[in-house]
């Protein structure tokens, strides 16, 4: 019996390990090897070049990446933490609406978001110009671009990490802890600094590391806003475009080292400080705000916040209604119609990217679903040697910046290999679904893990006891119970795949170019309207998926972030 169990675990493990080795480990190793090669053969010359004094640009880019990331952490926390407090500790009219609106930035694909910010707050942006005209100024009062632009986009998209982790921790803090402190004579300030804040520290540190990693890896914002400003993720792209693959590999390795060390630090920290709340379900009390002035203020802050959060979406919508060629030198667009959308149905070439995106995302997500459930089951419910290794391998694509994942694939599959059955993948249709699949492995595995860990082992044993074979009990008992977690992760993977830009830009071909690439092309041709129309399609697709999952499956996909 024991032997049979072992054999079965092995049987389940083989496909999992095979996929991970072929598409995660092998490409990473290829990049590592490539970084130690130059024309003559093995050498550390690339690293000497990177850190060398003659080409300061690389070191400068690394430093820029780090300090932008640090500032992104600071600004995201500045927005996310207070919002989490206001929405979870106090009760006021519209609270639940505002609190769900606070996660709106998730529904904005990175490239579209950056584009919206350019048109909103950039040189010829709507907001600065509107202020100028409104107050009769001679110059626009402010504009974003370069560092400030990147930072604002980062703060807008990444404060959600702080907001969500801190919110969920606030909700899980046993209210009797704060009451106990009050009872012992502590005032509001003491309770906050000595009890509430220390309990939130793990969440805040976790979110900080997450934001740091995400902004180290951030590609879309620097890509559109940086100007002459260099960051490391962008340098990789430039090196690749210039054909210097060894340098691109070296830059990838260095960026990976920074990201992975942060991942390891995060794992260590979270394992070290885990205050499990030993509490039977006590609902959090939200204190109702009685003071009408304060109540009004809260609502006002909420309304203004929601407007600011929705402005980018609105801008994209408005831009998408402006026909190309009608908004050139004027400050504001003057002609609005549905021409950009009409093209979708009349010109098949315009419909192509949309269809591509859907097919690519569908294929990748299907793979994620099957692979994720299997991997998660093996990781959570089966015993075997090397589980920790497997776990780290699964999480690797999450720590690796998207640009690096793209580079890994370029370097690994631009020649035939056993893992591709002797085909060259780069330059074919299949490279993009593979890239999306790899990127989103951790999403599905993590959200499935979370529900699978809740599943009592005795349920499986009971099914066994009643005579069910493994496949039957997996299909009829395990799968239905973990479905919410699986679907949450899968839907989020789909959403991300539809919006994916960094790997797309490294790997697309003319035949499989997705919406994001088409947006980039349209922007380059100054077809703002058409670009925005594509953006709207992306937003609607993502919104539709989230809406359907929420409405019909009762799944909050954002939970699995």
């Amino acid at each position: 019996m024991k032997n049979r169990d072992h054999r079965f675990t092995l049987l389940l493990l083989i496909p999992v390990v095979l996929v991970l080795v072929a598409y995660v480990l092998y490409p990473s190793l290829r990049t590592l090897i490539e970084s130690f090669q130059n024309k003559e053969g093995w050498s550390g010359g690339n690293y000497a070049d990177f850190f060398g004094s003659e080409s300061r640009s690389n070191l400068q880019a690394l430093w820029n990446s780090v300090y932008i990331s640090l500032l992104s952490v600071f600004f995201s926390a500045l927005i996310g933490v207070p919002l989490a407090f206001i929405f979870n500790k106090y009760e006021f009219p519209g609270r639940s609406f505002f609190s769900s609106a606070a996660i709106l930035p998730i529904v904005l694909p990175s490239l579209v978001g950056v584009m919206a910010f350019m048109f909103l707050y950039g040189e010829s942006g709507l907001v600065p110009n509107a202020i100028k005209d409104l107050f009769g100024l001679t110059n626009i009062p402010f504009k974003i671009g370069g560092v400030s632009g990147i930072l604002i986009v980062h703060a807008y998209t990444m404060y959600v990490y702080f907001y969500m982790t801190v919110s969920s921790t606030i909700r899980s803090i046993d209210p009797s802890l704060e009451e106990a402190a009050y009872n012992l004579g502590a005032g509001r300030l003491t309770v906050f600094t000595k009890v509430t804040l220390p309990l939130l520290t793990p969440a805040i540190v976790g979110a900080s590391l997450l934001v740091f990693m995400t902004s180290m890896a951030s590609f879309s914002a620097p890509f559109l806003l940086a100007g002459g400003f260099r960051v490391l993720s962008l340098q990789i792209y430039f090196s690749k475009v210039n054909g210097n693959l060894s340098m691109a590999a070296t830059q990838s390795v260095i960026l990976s080292i920074v990201s992975i060390s942060f991942l390891l630090f995060m794992r260590w920290y979270q394992n070290r400080r885990d205050y499990r709340m030993a509490t039977k379900g006590i609902g959090a009390h939200r204190s109702e705000i009685k003071n009408p002035f304060l109540k009004g203020l809260m609502v006002a802050v909420g309304v203004v916040g929601v407007i600011i959060l929705l402005l980018p979406h609105m801008t994209i919508l408005i831009l998408s209604l402006v026909p190309d060629g009608t908004w050139t030198y004027q400050t504001y667009p003057s002609v609005f119609n549905g021409e950009n959308y009409l093209f979708l149905f009349t010109e098949p070439k315009i419909w192509d990217p949309v269809r591509n995106s859907l097919i690519l995302a569908f294929l990748a997500t299907l793979g994620n679903l099957v692979f994720g459930v299997l991997t998660s089951y093996v990781l959570v419910k089966r015993k075997f040697v090397g589980k920790n290794m497997l776990d780290i391998m699964v999480m690797l694509p999450w720590a690796l910046p998207a640009t690096v994942v793209g580079m890994n694939l370029v370097l690994a599959f631009n020649e035939s290999s056993v893992f591709t059955f002797g085909h060259i993948l780069v330059g074919t249709f299949w490279i993009l679904p593979l890239a999306y699949f790899i990127r989103h492995i951790p999403l599905v595995v993590r959200s499935t893990n979370a529900t699978l860990e809740q599943l009592d082992d005795s349920l499986e044993e009971a099914a066994r006891n009643l005579g069910a074979k493994w496949f039957y009990l997996f299909r009829r008992v395990v799968l239905p119970l973990v479905m919410p977690g699986v679907m949450a992760g899968t839907l989020l993977a789909f959403v991300e795949a539809v919006g994916e830009f960094p790997t797309s830009v490294l790997l697309y071909t003319l035949g499989n170019r997705p919406i994001s690439i088409e947006i980039m092309n349209q922007l380059r041709m100054f077809n703002m309207g058409q670009a925005a129309a594509y953006g709207m399609i992306q937003i609607s697709l993502i919104g539709l998926v989230l809406f359907i999952s929420n409405k019909f499956f009762g799944i909050k996909a954002e939970r699995s972030l």
Binding site: D174, S176, L177, E179, A180, A181, Y182, N183, L184, G185, A186, G187, T190, K194, V195, P198, L199, T201, R273, Y275, R276, M277, A278, T279, K280, I282
Partner: protein
């Protein structure tokens, strides 16, 4: 140390009245228990005394100081929460020291007092531990030490033993009582466990549905319940609906509602008014069982044993008196032959041990009636 006075307290949450017109006087140094089923308003009352809720109407006094709207941190009460509410990010020492540090005591003094308090609860060896490394009983004692070390005027205990297993619960019961006597502190104890209430309290207030049913010493509550709810909530009892037929000196004459031919004499009525419906309550241990019809005794009924449960110290007999089942408890005397189901017996409900109580419960809620 301080007395506590509640003056017609009412607390409403939105549409629900959790506590209705409650008035109480708790003496200095008294061990006072709020007893009742869950949702009866006892915890709400405790939280109003701690200051976490403010009463909708009515007022609260500690001694002669009005505390109704004083912030919880200014009341100097020591509360032990049901889940202990130990700060998970602090050690045992830091948890206990918290209240003293808030009071800005010198650190040498803090150390001395914390160590004293931890010695009192026999945890002096655990000062440096994280609270998550302690067992349930140890966590309980940290929570106790934390609330006692600030020398509160009033100690508030919210079902402190409900998360412990039976053995530990016995141990902690003695421990809490010992500490309370040591410190001589006014203590309010909330529980739904009648054994805890009876064995620990100086006085008990029995709550039901937001209203106080009776206040009294454990003996008064058990022996002289004010109504059928109190009688059946505390201990086992037989409740028989009756109607008054007449009086003769101190003795009241009743007949059974379900069977007019059965008469019943009672000498110990609770306060009741003419229009109230009445029951008699008699504890199983007061019911006398005879194998032969006894002579010259009142309140004797003939019946059949339906079920005999052996519990070790005693035998629980369920005896059917023509449709009405009465529970009797007889001591295990190893008599032969033992009573068995089907045996014909005579049951006596001694007139000096039946308690006449007004009926406040719906008849179907009365356990042991059917």
């Amino acid at each position: 140390m301080s007395s506590v006075t509640l003056k017609s307290i009412t607390k409403s949450f939105k549409t629900v009245q959790a506590v209705k017109e409650l008035s109480l006087d708790i003496q200095k140094g008294e061990f006072f228990t709020f007893l009742g089923p869950s949702g009866c308003g006892k915890t709400t009352t405790l939280r109003m005394i701690a200051g976490f809720y403010y009463p909708t109407t009515g007022s609260i006094f500690f001694g002669d100081r009005e505390m109704t709207k004083v912030a919880p941190e200014k009341r100097n009460t020591g509360m032990v929460f049901q889940n202990y509410a130990l700060f998970p990010h602090m050690t045992v020492f830091e948890n206990v020291a918290f209240g003293l540090k808030v009071r800005k005591l010198a650190s040498a003094e803090v150390k001395k007092r914390v160590e004293e308090a931890l010695a009192k609860v026999r945890l002096d060896a655990f000062t440096k531990r994280q609270v998550s490394q302690l067992s349930g009983g140890q966590q309980q004692r940290v929570a106790l030490a934390r609330s006692l070390v600030i020398q509160p005027e009033i100690l508030l205990l919210d079902e402190p033993l409900s998360n412990l297993d039976a053995r530990l619960r016995d141990e902690m019961r003695t421990e809490i009582l010992r500490l309370q006597r040591d410190y001589g502190i006014t203590t309010i104890y909330v529980t739904h466990d009648q054994i805890e209430a009876l064995s620990m309290s100086d006085r008990i207030a029995v709550f039901n549905a937001g209203e106080c049913q009776q206040i009294g010493t454990p003996k008064e509550i058990y022996n002289e319940p004010a109504n059928d709810f109190v009688a059946s909530f505390i201990g086992e009892t037989n409740l028989i609906p009756v109607q008054l037929e007449g009086r003769e000196g101190g003795t009241l004459q009743f007949s059974w509602v379900e069977d007019n031919s059965k008469k019943l004499m009672a000498e110990r009525p609770a306060a009741f008014s003419e229009e109230e419906l009445l029951s008699v309550s008699i504890r199983p241990e007061a019911v006398e069982v005879f194998e032969e019809p006894p002579v010259n005794l009142q309140n004797v009924y003939e019946g059949t044993i339906e079920l005999a449960q052996f519990t070790g110290a005693s035998l629980n007999l369920f005896i059917s008196l023509g449709g009405k089942v009465v529970q009797a408890m007889v001591l295990n005397t190893m008599a032969h032959p033992e009573p068995e189901p089907g045996d014909r017996v005579w049951v006596r409900l001694p007139e000096f041990r039946v308690r006449v109580v007004p009926r406040v419960m719906e008849p179907k809620e009365g356990r042991r009636i059917s």
